[in-house]
Amino acid sequence: MTTPRQARSETTEPMRRARTRFLIVTIAVPALLVAGAVALQLAWLPELPATVATHWSGSEPDGFGPAWTYPALTVAIGLGVPALLAAVTVPQAVPDGFGTTTRLLGAVMLGVSTLIAVSLTWAVGMQRGLDDGADAAGIGVPMLVAAAAGVVAGVVGWFVQPKTELPETEVEPGEAIELVPGERAVWVRTTAVATPALVAIIAAVVLVAGAAVVLGVTSSSATWGLWIAAGALALAAVTLAFRVRVDATGLTARSLLGVIRFRVPLEQVRRAEVVQVRAMAEFGGIGIRLAPDGRFGIVLHSGTALQVHRDGGRVFVVTVEDAATAAGLLSALQRAR
């Protein structure tokens, strides 16, 4: 197996700066926030009832757990989620470049971390001196304030990171392969995520499932978390590998597991070409993706991809090896129509 050709951008000074700021926003600041929040929560432990409210329904607490639930959740979500995201993002973004998508991702992660740190700290802080967690006040105001703080932190996180320009990547038009009149042809190829990405996806799914189990233990509304975990698992499994086909009907990409299928009918193909995709920088990661520039893609790794311009200006991208042959066949079939 040949490794997909990588579109590497040089590590320039602005890129280094963008990377440093990204790490500050997704790791350093959340770590400080969570450390402060956990320190407060631990200091309050002696003043708390044996079981504290951990879940509210309306303004009434309806889920209870031991007080250590709060510091544990604060670390797991407030720091664990941004750190996991950074661990998945950085290995891809270093060769691909830090662009708008990583900037947005970093800002959102700082917002999430702030939301978690503020809301959980407030929720446990207001239960100090109570005899019973059931007497806890409503969670509405703390959540509103925490959400506002999260938004503010997100905006700050966005502007703290520099705006970067990614270098242009090459686009090769699909050189039509020669077909004699009446000749028929089909091109088929399987495309799948690379092993490191596979490991990262499985790790993420395990983390989500683990979080769902923790929620199930500590809160009354256990099922939604598990459902989300199950959904993420199913979705990840279905979008890990695709069978891409070009024939007289056009372009078809069908997931190996499951029923997801994307089609570009031949009559809608305007132009087929080969591009070098930077998954993280252009599409914000791997999977079924909509890029900020409007391109829709099955992006399973960085590197060679088949790009099809459709009638009406829509663009479909699928990362697949030997895309030159696919683009060439699409061009030839289109011409022969």
């Binding site: 009446g182 024939d247 007289a248």
Partner: protein, 116 residues
């Protein structure tokens, strides 16, 4: 994997399908361990009979280039490495034949003859 057939050609369709697979291997676009497209998929896309494709895959198996297993489909064997190795030699020979004005059929029959 690009598979092409010309219904107007004198060469039987199953032979054209098998030749496409060999050409892909020789061009270095397919390697040992790669799976051939499902016969049903090829038959549908090219609008030919399923048995035509199966016949081609069976021929490739008889040549030792393909492993046919129930449930796993048709997988290229390590024997295809030999085909890929000949790539440069074939390109050179074809170039020479073209320069000398030899027809493809004439060259093919000469090669066949020398292998006897």
């Amino acid at each position: 994997m690009l598979i092409r057939i010309d219904p107007g050609s004198d060469v039987p369709l199953f032979a054209q399908v098998a030749a496409s697979v060999r050409a892909e291997v020789a061009a270095g676009r397919a390697q040992a361990g790669d799976r051939l497209p499902a016969a049903r998929e090829v038959a549908e896309s090219l609008d030919i009979n399923l048995h035509t494709v199966l016949r081609a895959y069976q021929d490739l198996r008889d040549e030792g280039l393909v492993d046919l297993r129930r449930g796993r489909g048709a997988v290229l064997t390590p024997a295809v490495a030999g085909l890929a190795e000949l790539r440069d030699d074939i390109a050179r020979l074809a170039e020479r034949a073209r320069a000398l004005g030899l027809s493809p059929d004439a060259l093919a029959s000469l090669v066949k003859e020398s292998l006897r």
